[in-house]
Symmetry: C2
Subunit: 141 residues, 2 copies
């Protein structure tokens, strides 16, 4: 799967008294590919979770709290692509299967990654590498 | 709809280096009723968002960050029911249509309510009342 297939969708943050309302994903959106599971990953400042890839799952990633750097790696083209998303850049990233990814917390408080995935978690379709197995220079804050 | 139809489902929080992984909702769970939308509501400490009810939507409410008090009101029985959910009580609340609800942030930082709903947002199926229109004594911290 090409790294060019990663989708970026700006999301609405609606100013609301007492706390804003933030969009995530609707079944009526063009890039909706079915619902399997919603789960969350907290990531502490500077903590790095890497590397992982799915062979079936399309991930829809949203960061409603904090700021997270995502790094995607395409094994075929050997290309990296990075996106910093969260409160300062409130978008949804759509990630097709077969791309390696890792992520790092950039906020002083734990950031919250929400994955709205098109299939439920299935350990059989997850592949992992040690951080050192894909050479990428993560910057520490 | 009876207030007894509100469902409480304990959710897993998986200890993970760098930040925990938290379950939300899977399509394979028995109480899954279809996917319409995921959206988030932040709620500041002591802020109260009330009252609202849906005439079609079943809400699945999860609070992965912070702590939130939910108050549900059944117009027929005139009964209130409350649940405090969040990091300290990590459960999913499933709320059928036709129940009035309001919620209050209990954490010093903004709390994050995630609603995984069975239909996309539709203003036509939302009813609202002013906070004063249902008498409930919210406690301030």
């Amino acid at each position: 799967m090409s790294i060019n297939k990663i989708g970026i969708m700006p999301l609405k943050r609606i100013k609301t008294e007492g706390g804003d309302v933030l969009h995530g994903l609707k079944s009526t959106e063009l890039d909706y590919q079915g619902f399997g599971e919603v789960y969350f990953s907290l990531v502490e400042q500077n903590a790095i979770k890497a590397w992982k890839r799915h062979t079936k799952m399309t991930m829809n990633l949203v960061v409603p709290v904090g700021l997270v750097k995502f790094v995607f790696f395409d094994e075929n083209s050997k290309k990296f692509i990075t996106h910093e998303i969260g409160e300062k850049n409130y978008v949804r990233i759509s990630v097709p299967p077969y791309l390696w990814f890792g992520f790092q917390g950039l906020d002083s408080n734990p950031s919250l990654v929400t994955n709205i995935s098109n299939i439920p978690h299935d350990p059989e379709e997850v592949e992992r590498l040690l951080p050192s197995e894909i050479k990428y220079t993560w910057e520490l804050l």
